[in-house]
Point group: C2
Chain length 139, copies 2
């Protein structure tokens, strides 16, 4: 069974930006604004292998994403779960995020995995295990 | 010297919502959407003593807040620093946050500290020590 209700899934699909949180080596929260896409019960974020968000996710195996709408009453949902970094076979996922960032009806032509590897791109994926707090989103 | 540039300070004062991140007892990030006010180099958030955000801040002594604007290009700033919970003398700070939530020119009539204590209200305060990432905010 999905961890997401249809309403939360639809909300996530309508939003492009979220705040990613990971935990640093010092045990402190680290946050940054990211574009994301949802694929079933997974959140996909494109980043570079050397960024702290990727390193934290690999080291700790966990990440959180908080997403809110831009207009009152500011609906929001926070998701968390096991997280990790994918280096191979990321062309389609990267194109899916690019589609969402650019607001296209279809994903753009995917780059090759080789080109993405050359550029140091990786996918940070979160398997949604915990959902909440959720505010101002119907059921 | 302030940790904030005038541009980041002005950005924060123009926003009402942020995403708070703390670290749980399990060492995992916990996030939630909060209203906040700035007082110099401090971020003030009103919450209840029993909430995890207050307990995490007290236990770990650290918190992070990520704030973004609601319109493209979505300016944002992430702030972090030593954090804790104040239980006494919180009437003025609580009124300052209420002013910002309600968009008033002046703070509303403060509740008494006794009434706030009765309701279990506390102030979660972050002393801004680290600023960044900052995106789409001038200097």
């Amino acid at each position: 069974m999905s961890a997401l209700t249809p309403a939360v899934a639809a909300f996530l699909d309508a939003q492009r930006l979220g705040v990613l949180a990971t935990v640093s080596e010092q045990g402190r929260p680290r946050q940054s604004v990211v574009y994301f896409a949802r694929e079933g019960d997974r959140i996909l974020i494109t980043t570079e292998a050397g960024r702290w968000k990727a390193r934290d996710a690999e080291r700790t195996g966990w990440a959180s994403l908080c997403v809110r709408g831009d207009e009152p009453p500011y609906p929001s949902a926070t998701l968390a779960g096991p997280a990790g970094v994918q280096r191979a076979d990321i062309a389609l996922a990267t194109a899916r995020i690019a589609q969402k960032v650019m607001g296209l009806d279809e994903p753009p032509e995917p780059q090759t995995d080789a080109a993405l590897a050359e550029a140091g791109r990786v996918i940070l994926a979160i398997d949604i295990e915990r959902v909440g707090p959720v505010s101002y989103i119907g059921t």
